[in-house]
Symmetry: C2
Subunit: 348 residues, 2 copies
Amino acid sequence: MARTGNKRVFAQYPASSFPFEKEQDMRTRVTELLGIEVPIIQGAMAWVADGRLAAAVSEAGGLGVIAAGSAPIAWVEEQIGIARSLTTKPLGVNVMLMSPQAAEVAALLARLRVEVVTTGAGSPSAFIEDWKAAGCKVVPVVASSALAKRMERAGADAVIAEGCEAGGHIGELTTMVLVPAVCEAVSIPVIAAGGIADGRGLLAAFTLGAEAVQMGTRFLTIEECGISDAYKERVLVAKDSDTVVTGRGSGHPVRGLKNAFARKARVLESDPSLDPDELESLYAGSLRRAVQGDVENGSLMAGQVACLVHERKDARHVIEGLMAKAQQLAACDLDALADANAFHGQAY
Amino acid sequence: MARTGNKRVFAQYPASSFPFEKEQDMRTRVTELLGIEVPIIQGAMAWVADGRLAAAVSEAGGLGVIAAGSAPIAWVEEQIGIARSLTTKPLGVNVMLMSPQAAEVAALLARLRVEVVTTGAGSPSAFIEDWKAAGCKVVPVVASSALAKRMERAGADAVIAEGCEAGGHIGELTTMVLVPAVCEAVSIPVIAAGGIADGRGLLAAFTLGAEAVQMGTRFLTIEECGISDAYKERVLVAKDSDTVVTGRGSGHPVRGLKNAFARKARVLESDPSLDPDELESLYAGSLRRAVQGDVENGSLMAGQVACLVHERKDARHVIEGLMAKAQQLAACDLDALADANAFHGQAY
């Protein structure tokens, strides 16, 4: 990047006119490990993160990730095929470890030699050996430094430290605390997730010690994301108070946008005489309903950061814009940051 | 601060040997507004933040804040007197708006012309006019952008956006999301709180748009803080998973360190046949018990960031160390940050 003796000069440029330089690509241990151009990973969102979305993010220089979720194996293989037809760049697949098919998905990824495997909702220790034998990089999502240490010992190549502001299944610790805590606990690279959707969040994550970020919600609204327009609109208009956590009582809390589905789930959960079948039937198919456009009765998974997502764009524009803004802010010393903040970002 | 054409050079210095320069003081709208030297405010912690602690932080260049909490008016006036005898620098007092004595405390602060009034647990609109007539700066704590907007309209001079990783009474939004969301919502300066205890957190907060930070947990362990050594030790040994939220069901969630008190509170809360008197008697005096050293039966309020607090020191050393580290990190461009993070902070 351009270096200057007077960094304040950068604060004068609005983001749109900031001179774009290709040398902005930030090299970290994560970009080296995964063979990607920018330290940005697209979060795996069940029924949302398909081959087309993942390919778009990978093609734009980040890492696209297909969410296997609890989808049929044939669907997962099909989506990997779609992604492979759209890009030759590295690709990730996320294994949801609570899925009854986790072992089958795990075997598929080893057989297809998917470049990167991320995992959620548990410990992937049982599969790591096979994945590494197949040449896959293994990157588990963790919600505490204790699990991060276990993953490092089990052979993980990096970990994704995901704060509870994220959408979907969440833990207890916030990104602001979890990222530095995990950085203190392990030597492998740490990828920050949760609450990141713009250049400020990106640089804040790097400041906290991360060597890449993972963003889910930010990619929900991009052109290459196949969810319904109605779902995208809900994300775009979301206020900061518009997400809610359901399932806290069950020990599997999930964050999504407030709607009729979430209200009903909260009411059912708080009923001590609850018939588990009723809750089960509410949840069945709820993610797909949202993806297909039923934004009242579907589960609209999204993170708190939905309130900071204001535009659609495509993967390339999102990634280039984020890196340019992060670079511009990184060029500010404390005085320049103070100047910029006095205008609440309007100077950018 | 020193400017250089090659910012990478800063990454070579370990923190301890980083050349300390007095010009590191960061001027923001908050330092100007409050008449302080560094943009660091000490969070008001009931029964913890007394005149001696507040004076130490103000004397070190930040803003010390006495917590009126639900203490007797005479105690609040006494603590203001103690602080005034120890420093001539600006002083803050926090009004806990749920206290039955809030109006009396409010009148006292106007009468004594305390430089800065911060408020928690509600809207201080009814008192703002009197405080401003007395020359007090008014800085409410907010947990959403909607409340921030209301406070700006009511005449607040700045707001403290406190994320749910904080200790004590908490909201729902995390610092990572709340700070930029509030910055988008208001024009007055935003002070970030929750999850900040070191130079990385400080700079991350400035990156997110804050013009100052408020830290509570970080000041619990300093020499001038009068809590028991046993309480300080619990903070120093805390792991990231060692805080817990009680009171979620009651609508007044509070974060503190796990201990017998917190376990008992959680058990009582989850009992649908709960006798409210039993919970009431558990809570009565619980904060004072902790301050005085009963770390099992007292309420050990602390934020998630306790896991990042590793040292005692005094107010001056803490503040100087934080500013030096933030300055050093702010001098890094993206490549220098990547280098530093590859060593997980060990290079500093």
